[in-house]
Subunit: 267 residues, 2 copies
């Protein structure tokens, strides 16, 4: 196998990372993709840093056995809490979803403007976005809001029901009048609620979907290292730690992704 034909590994706590998968597939049609969803332990967003790090290391080791050429951590919680530990383990580059989101947000926000970061409790408590924005030298005001019900709402397939709008208002209405220039969808599930979130925030607020930006970063990395696979149709493989049929059904229903047979790897 040529080095360029080695797969890109992608993982998430469940199916939210499929928004990143979908962007990667659209941008890089020739790449072979291996997706791992930790459905036995989903969600990560309410768990401790120690647990998220331990789970992420297990999955990284598993994906490295598949001879991946790049690892995309398509989970904001794992990106917030475990990226350093994952990098210690990985001989190939590791791409999280925080930095690409931060860079996209900064393009949308003037100096002195306001960014609202939404995410799971674990992501928000880690303050990973605030730190990354500060490290990027951004002169913006950062607001943060944990929205723990968004993930189960998406997993229930209720994104376009009225209840989704009510939950979004419960979390976000207090920020509506506060001149928010950009809202970062700081969880890979949230792009599925993008319309509902945009409706609460109003047209003034730019909604930043890090799935797309992350895919662009992956492409740039592979180009830089001469590892782009220019084939016509790459393979897609899906592995979960539990309940493959449920994963497969939701992938189709929520994202229109036909997974084919989903394999199971239990830890």
């Amino acid at each position: 196998m040529k080095d360029s034909e080695r797969p890109i590994g992608i993982f998430d706590s469940g199916l939210g990372g499929l928004t990143v998968f979908k962007s990667l597939r659209a941008l890089l049609p020739g790449e072979n993709l291996v997706y791992f969803g930790d459905t036995a332990r989903v969600p990560y967003g309410t768990k401790s840093a120690q647990a998220v790090i331990a789970f992420s290391k297990e999955i990284t080791a598993f994906l490295l056995e598949r001879r991946i050429k790049l690892l995309v951590v398509a989970c904001n919680t794992a990106s917030s809490l475990a990226l350093d530990e994952i990098r210690k383990l990985s001989p190939v580059p590791v791409l999280g979803v925080i930095l690409p989101g931060v860079e996209a947000a900064l393009k949308a926000v003037p100096a002195g403007g306001r960014v609202l970061v939404t995410g799971t409790s674990a992501t928000v408590n880690s303050r990973a976005y605030s730190k990354a924005l500060a490290a990027a030298g951004a002169r913006v005001k950062v607001l943060e809001k944990a929205c723990p019900l968004f993930v189960p709402l998406v997993e229930e397939g209720w994104c376009s029901k009225p209840v989704a709008a009510i939950v979004a208002r419960e979390y976000l209405a207090p920020f509506r009048g506060r001149k928010v220039d950009a809202l970062i969808l700081g969880c890979t599930h949230y792009p599925l609620l993008k319309k509902v979130i945009a409706a609460v925030m109003g047209p003034r607020t730019r909604i930043v979907d890090s799935a797309r930006v992350t895919a662009a970063c992956a492409k740039a990395d592979l180009e830089r290292r001469g590892l782009l696979n220019r084939g016509r149709k790459g393979s897609s493989e899906f592995i979960v730690s539990d309940a493959p049929e449920r994963f497969s059904g939701l992938a189709l229903r929520l994202l229109g992704i036909k997974t084919g047979k989903v394999a199971v790897k239990r830890f």
Copy 2:
């Protein structure tokens, strides 16, 4: 240690089983109680039978090391899917929450009446309640409805917010006109939503809370075996597999339970 002083073991996927703990504590003030919440892998309700059985066996083995005299499986999903496997492992009696709930429901429903079972997807898909009702020779019509958003709603502490009523209506309004005599709260989290659920169903429907009935069954079992602890104030011990502070905070906020220091056991 006298046999009667050995603790009662209780476990759940997270904090829902604390509704059972609370009933046990009220009914059996002299008993020593050890509660285990599998907060690293919560929720169980969307996971496969195989995963729930594996998790339940690990926890059972752990609690047996504590020399418990009775094991209460305070989780409907584990009771639905794993009770037989747990019993194979346990030299002490194992009490689930399904049968006590069924018996209480049958007292509330006339022959030919209707019972609506609510629970997680895993509990409903297992049809454990239908089977138990049939095995009890009940001549009732059983309706079932999975309500996956109830657990995260409770864990968010939103039980008395308007959004709780909206979610409850989304799931249950279609059953309102269908002459339901009893609704079984088939998940140990659901008693925290009892008022909201009762309001949707109307006064005609009796709401069956299996936490209380389960505690009564535990008492009856200990009396029968001469193992009741008639002391004045039993100890309460809490162990979780992740995030002890979060567990402790929610136990106080949602159930008024002061846990003291919560220990951690990771698997």
